[in-house]
């Protein structure tokens, strides 16, 4: 076991972890932040994506021990009790959610994209989604949702 410090959703944690624990394992099984999903364990489906210092990354292939002092935002960290993140609102409005299992990873990817590129083209959205699988929606309404979120940014 090794002790490391991490900031998760704004809170400072000191965690006792084993060398082989992935960030996904720490989030789900140690902290019970279960919004981040296991879909493949190989970094190929994107269901476990979280923001690490603002960049969307698959948590299933990252070892927690290498993330000392990193800032992590999970899906739970995006919304407040009475207010969803605009990207979350857009996902609902555009009908981008079906079974919901890929949704946290999709939202995280979308948030990271829009933070870096507030007005992406459709092609830029598609490129950003290259590492996120969804079997329900066929992606169309997810792309629509990200465009909607981008437009809403204008109005704010």
């Amino acid at each position: 076991m090794k002790s490391i410090m991490m900031k998760i959703n704004g809170d400072q944690y000191t965690l006792e972890i084993q060398d082989n624990w992935t960030l996904l394992y720490v989030l789900r099984d140690v902290l019970h932040l279960t919004g981040t999903k296991y879909g493949c364990g190989t970094g190929d489906c994107g269901a476990c994506k979280v923001l690490i210092n603002g960049i969307a990354k698959n948590s299933c292939t990252l070892l927690a021990k290498n993330l000392e002092n990193h800032e992590i935002t999970t899906i739970e960290g995006l919304s407040q009790r009475d207010k969803l993140h605009p990207v979350q609102e857009a996902f609902i409005e555009a009908g981008a959610i079906q079974c919901g299992f890929c949704t946290p990873g999709m939202v995280i990817t979308a948030v990271a994209l829009l933070d870096q590129n507030p007005y992406p083209t459709e092609n830029e959205i598609v490129v950003a989604l290259e590492n996120n699988l969804c079997r329900c929606t066929g992606y169309k309404k997810i792309i629509d949702a990200i465009r909607l979120a981008s437009k809403k940014r204008d109005r704010r």
Partner: protein, 745 residues
């Protein structure tokens, strides 16, 4: 209409988008153990010896199972009701393994990591047996028989007219042979199950499950436990597409729970979900069409070889289902279907979105295109000349096809796609590198399982504040069923959707449902909800009349309250509930066992435009039009979502999806790194149109879409590729090397 025909996001979208939705893997019970299953690395073998000693010594290991610990009960994993007599050759753990991925042993340990380590310490000595992977080879008389009595599970023959004579008299005959692959369902949530065995002898299961009452049947059989002690909770499904049904890991979890007295969670990893559950059946189909001089199809003959893998599961049902669909699309006087379900040592085939229809219409729609081409006829016009009309008669069961609007779909699709214009300028846009092609396909799928008993049970209870509790056994795959059911109830009861709680019942409720398959959810579940909402409205009307001291004919439900016609007196639902409580000393609860009276056809016509790169063999589906015969669009946004998802899934089946086996039956491309599923970049420009024409028997005239939407996709795309290249490619997936070979043969 307050809610019907209105787009609504999925009612639990807020839970899902915030990560607060609880799926089975998010449940952590006290003192819970984690299970892992050792699966077979060989395709067919007797287990000579299993040594678990090393694994047992590992700290944190709480139980180990081998075939010696499992009940010696043969079962079929897809029993649909208690007297289902489909072939039963599977055991929870067996001393013979029959495919790569078959269950060998299991471990429960304090953590999943320890369980995994323990699994790797179990030593198994296999005595390999002959293995057979090609179903046609398995049917040969001298083939090795996996069980005694040959590898043919069941042959099905259905025909109308005189097929052989009709071919003899045909003006023109066209034949082809097509094949489809083993496709992974690809639900992003892998298979998972939590089990508990109480000291009272109860078996409790928490899992994403589209048919909890079927899980109960198999567990009852295996553990010789009365249903009154089997408690199956269906958790939120993170996608299914057919995959979340049938006994796979449940009995292992129960055995581990019984042995340890603790909760046990087993979650398959992605490779296990791909290999050790089941896939869409790989099939080979031989087709033959005869036409007369007027371009009318006079005869159709299809033979399907269905690779089941070593256990029957749902295979014979799927064989029956695809057979029955074949007779419902074209008006052909002489038709024959022969199906052969076959045991092999590949991974298992089973139910997946479409339940055999994607294969039968893949064969048929490639064949129809080839016929049109040979006759030098436009494939749209040729179809238009032969498709069924509304209220035609199914030649096999003599029942009405219902309001079958396939011709309307084809006509509309052809207009939206600019079919004729596109084809006219096709040759002018081809370049040295890129070829362009256009494909069309039509298809039909069913609605429920009628004329089989198609039963679902619902209940509706009125609370004293006027809100309602709607209980249904129907399981939501995640596609929006519950939202649609709420819309139906709220519309009839004239009340806000938010004031109706939808409660998914478990097996302890007794509110049975046959299972969320066969496109039943809207057609059967929705119709049942519509019926019970009408009964509730009726009951409330009677009480309102009594309270207002008029006859019930004088009462109308308007603006959410019960009013006397042409009068100001009124009583709201709260008033009705309180009057019943105080004056009648009763709660208003309705319960209904609903049996769907008929099985309608959901038709569709799809059009695909592709670009083929002649240098690399890559196909890009550029444009796509889907016109669907939906009866009534209850929630257009959810309907579109179903169709869009189906287009991408069918595109995967056409272009790159399929488990590939080496010569020993080992999948070469398991896992998402190697098994390619469609990504956002594969999405074509999509246009969707609904043909809305009332269908008798569905709620508000609506019929199913979830399965129907995928069926025409694969043939539409393959027809487009063949159109682009002038080829006759028939084996999906059309991987780029296959395409290059066809171009430069």
């Amino acid at each position: 209409m307050r809610y019907i025909g209105k787009s609504q996001p999925i009612f639990d979208a807020r839970e899902k988008v915030t990560g607060e939705m609880i799926y089975a893997d998010d449940l952590f019970f006290p003192n819970m153990l984690h299970g892992k299953i050792l699966t077979s690395p060989v395709a067919h073998a007797k287990i000579k010896h299993i040594d678990t000693m090393q694994a047992e010594k590992l700290p944190g290991v709480r139980a180990i199972l081998t075939y010696k610990d499992a009940p010696d009960v043969l079962y079929n994993r897809n029993m649909q009701w208690i007297n289902d007599l489909k072939p039963a050759t599977e055991r929870v753990l067996d001393k013979v393994v029959r495919y790569v991925g078959d269950r060998v042993a299991a471990v429960a340990a304090d953590t999943a990591e320890i369980a995994q380590k323990a699994i790797s310490l179990i030593k198994v000595e296999y005595e390999e047996l002959p293995a057979i992977f090609d179903p046609e080879a398995a049917l040969k008389e001298d083939a090795y028989s996996i069980y005694t009595g040959g590898n043919l599970i069941k042959e099905l023959n259905k025909a109308c007219g005189n097929v052989d004579q009709a071919f003899d008299e045909s003006y023109h005959v066209t034949q082809n042979t097509v094949s489809t692959s083993m496709i992974h369902h690809g639900a992003i949530e892998p298979h998972i199950c939590i089990a508990h065995a109480s000291r009272e002898g109860e078996i409790c299961i928490w899992e994403p499950q589209r048919a909890p009452f079927r899980t109960q049947i198999m567990l009852g059989k295996i553990f010789k436990t009365p249903y009154s002690k089997i408690h199956v909770h269906g958790t939120s499904m993170g996608g299914s597409f057919g995959s979340k049904e049938g006994l796979m890991i449940e009995a292992i979890a129960v055995l581990l729970a019984q042995k340890t007295g603790r909760y046990v969670k087993i979650r398959y990893d992605r490779n296990e979900s791909m290999i050790s559950t089941f896939t869409r059946h790989a099939m080979k189909l031989y087709g033959k069409i005869g036409v007369n001089g007027q371009g009318k199809i006079t005869a159709l003959d299809v033979k399907a070889i269905i690779n089941s893998g070593p256990y029957c599961g749902d295979t014979t049902n799927i064989q029956g289902s695809m057979c029955s669909k074949m007779f419902k699309l074209y008006k052909i006087p002489h038709m024959r279907f022969v199906g052969q379900s076959v045991y092999t040592n590949t991974q298992l085939g089973g139910a997946m979105r479409g339940y055999g229809s994607p294969a039968i219409f893949y064969a048929l729609e490639l064949l129809v295109n080839k016929t049109a081409k040979e006759l030098n006829m436009d494939p749209v016009a040729f179809r238009m000349n032969n498709l069924v009309a509304p209220y035609g008669i199914d030649p096999i069961n003599q029942l009405s096809l219902g309001n079958a609007r396939i011709k309307d779909c084809l006509q509309k699709g052809s207009e939206l796609f600019n079919w004729e214009e596109k084809r006219a300028r096709q040759s002018s846009i081809e370049t040295e590198r890129y070829a362009y092609g256009y494909g069309v396909a039509t298809a039909v799928h069913g609605n429920g399982v009628a004329p089989e008993p198609d039963i679902t049970v619902v209940s509706l209870a009125l609370n004293e504040d006027g809100s309602m509790l709607l209980r249904t056994g129907i399981s939501d795959h995640g596609a929006g069923t519950y939202t649609v059911l709420k819309q139906i109830a709220a519309d009839i009861l004239d009340m806000p959707m938010e004031h109706i709680a939808l409660i998914h019942t478990d097996t302890y409720s007794g509110l049975y449902d046959r299972g969320a398959g066969s496109s039943r959810n809207t057609w059967v579940g929705g119709a049942a909800v519509a019926e019970i909402a009408k009964r509730m409205k009726n009951s409330m009307t009677l009480i309102a009349a009594e309270a207002l001291q008029v006859s019930s004919e004088e009462i109308v439900l308007e603006d959410e309250v019960f009013k006397i016609k042409d009068n100001k007196a009124k009583i709201d639902k709260k008033g009705v509930a309180c009057y019943a409580y105080q004056e009648k000393r009763a709660k208003i609860i309705e319960t209904l066992s609903y049996d769907s009276p008929r099985n309608a056809g959901s038709y569709g016509a799809h059009f695909a435009g592709v670009q083929v790169d002649k240098l690399t063999g890559e196909v890009k589906v550029e444009e796509y039009v889907a016109v669907c015969d939906v009866g009534k669009a209850i929630n257009p946004m959810l309907l579109e979502g179903q169709i869009e998802g189906a287009i991408l899934m069918g595109l995967g089946m056409a272009l790159f999806e399929g488990l590939q086996l080496d010569e020993k039956g080992v999948p070469k491309n398991a896992g998402f790194k190697k098994y390619r599923m469609p990504k956002a970049s594969d999405m074509p420009k999509i246009m969707i149109h609904f043909v809305e024409a009332y269908e008798e028997g569905g709620p508000f005239g609506a019929k199913s879409i979830g399965e129907a939407a995928i069926i025409p996709v694969t043939p539409a795309i393959v027809n487009a590729v063949n159109d682009a290249l002038g080829t006759e490619l028939t084996e999906v997936p059309l991987l780029s090397d296959k395409i290059l070979k066809a171009i430069y043969k």
